[in-house]
Symmetry: C2
Subunit: 322 residues, 2 copies
């Protein structure tokens, strides 16, 4: 099948008829940004055999490609708006694969009320590569950044940490014994991350800094520390772990690996210590749990401390991209 | 070397200090669009061994990746604004490669007065892949589209057609005899296309439709025809060919291949027949030659006609993407 037929049959419906996409006919999209809004732009690539296993269902690949981008939009406190898609197709890709991939995009984009703007579909002699550029809207001047954490702020994290790393380990070592429900929970957390879109928007008036955890909790905490010129002190026992991750820790999976493994796509943010009650109300309202895991202090870098406040040494912060 | 060091050393300088890029520290960029402007967004990917030869200088790859995107911006009559870069790096890529690649980006971005907004740098187990999303600005409501060609309009093309195809043939068959100056001209036209940015902006008040020729003159003419619900009649002898391409035609390179080979990155546009004098003045002013190659007629599709107006049959329109 020809590119233009694939575009018409599978990609054009993902524009949901929005005028901005010009029917995918113009090799370009045209956006009109409301005058009191700013446009947030973020780009993430996922490559076969690096960011996902070869041969996994195309729906999973589509979900992850969009979710990793929407997670960045969420971390900015922005409202997801649209996305463009660049797809480099391995020779093995056929029409059924495209149909499933687009079904995965459809489910994920509709959950976030966004649409496909445009993009490029190309052949590759090698592994599949998916690049998405996602767009979000945020009222003028209030986008959340990594900088802005203030000494005395509390450090918060959404959901639980290490589940995706656990799911990855179960993919690599399927013989690790674990309860079925925990296995399927961790696999889902690894393959189908949930961007914390609602929470990002709800906290933007309170949070002083924010990012999404993709490289690992400690490494990403380091990004807030360096951008904000402060130190982040994280209490190891406060880091929220799921029951499934706790069970994995009884099977030779190390706590340190869970909190540095990455791919969590949870939000890590700082907020004034007296905002706790308001933040807990937001968590309650959005149904997204949040946990206070430490405090912002003078200095630089990230310290992990035990119950007694003693530093716990760590060497590896997280994922190395290249 | 570590991703974050490469970003700081090679990519961050490409932001030219622009606030929108947030120092490449935030996994996102933040754009404020002037209230009377619209944002044009376009995405193009080039993959090693498909769109460029493995082992060519990194500067060429950077140039082509940016130029193909800027050519789309030019075809919209928009002013180039910024770009994001997604780079999937083959295992063989080292720091020297990155340095050269970024030097190529720097030269091309500065020529277009744009800057790097953000992006993603990832590892790939396979060939190099470069995806750029380029942004342009255009006053409200006047972006050039593929639709809009009117019956009676003249059809115009910038520069000369088929040079890039000729350069590609010289890469594939270096033993084709041709004058040195013609060889180097065609190689440059293939490796280092020039987006027709100034001309695109200058014609936007006159042109009724426009696109850039990437898939081949005849196939791209078909895109205007179908988007505009008209027929395009192109006079084969009016199609501008360079002296170098004419010499190649004496060496078994067919005229039909030159006009369907693609990668020209010339603008194809339609305009009212009485706009010729104004268009020629613009060509003169910008130093970018334009040639009238046909007319818009009732019907559908593209007809290639000879001097006597008789149709010349053709089967292959141009490049098949996937």
């Amino acid at each position: 099948m020809h590119e233009f037929e694939w575009i018409a049959r599978y990609f054009a419906p993902l524009t949901r008829g929005r005028a901005e996409a010009l029917g995918l006919q113009d090799d370009a999209a045209l956006l009109s940004i409301p005058h009191d809004q700013q446009l947030v732009v973020t780009t993430d690539t996922i490559n076969e055999s690096i960011h996902f296993f070869a041969g996994i269902p195309p729906q999973y690949i589509a979900h992850k490609a969009l979710a990793t981008n929407l997670s960045d939009i969420a971390a900015k406190g922005a409202t997801p708006y649209a996305y463009s898609l660049a797809l480099s197709l391995a020779p093995s890709v056929n029409e059924a694969w495209i149909a499933d991939f687009c079904a995965g995009l459809a489910a994920q984009q509709d959950a976030a009320y966004i649409f496909l703007l445009g993009g490029d579909t190309t052949r590759s002699s090698g592994p599949l590569s998916v690049t998405i550029t996602a767009f979000g809207l945020v009222p003028d001047g209030i986008m959340l950044k990594r900088s802005g954490a203030q000494i005395g702020d509390a450090i918060w994290v959404t959901g639980s940490i290490g589940d995706a790393y656990g799911g990855l380990q179960l993919c690599l070592h399927p013989d690790i014994p674990i309860a079925d429900e925990h296995r399927s929970y961790l696999m889902q957390r690894y393959h189908l991350p949930t961007p914390r879109i609602e929470l990002g928007q709800a906290i933007r008036a309170l949070a002083t800094s924010c990012l999404d955890i993709s490289d690992g909790l400690l490494q990403d905490a380091g990004h807030i520390a360096s951008a904000s010129h402060v130190a982040l002190s994280i209490e190891s026992e406060a880091i929220p772990l799921s029951d499934a991750a706790l069970e994995l820790m009884q099977q030779d999976i190390l706590f340190m690996d869970l909190i540095t493994g990455g791919d969590d796509y949870e939000l890590l943010f700082t907020a004034p210590a007296d905002a706790s009650a308001q933040l807990m109300a937001i968590a309650n309202q959005t149904g997204i749990p949040i946990t206070r895991i430490g405090s912002v202090q003078p200095g630089s870098g990230v310290t992990l401390v035990d119950k007694a406040g003693m530093p716990i040494p760590f060497t590896k912060g997280g994922w190395q991209h290249i």
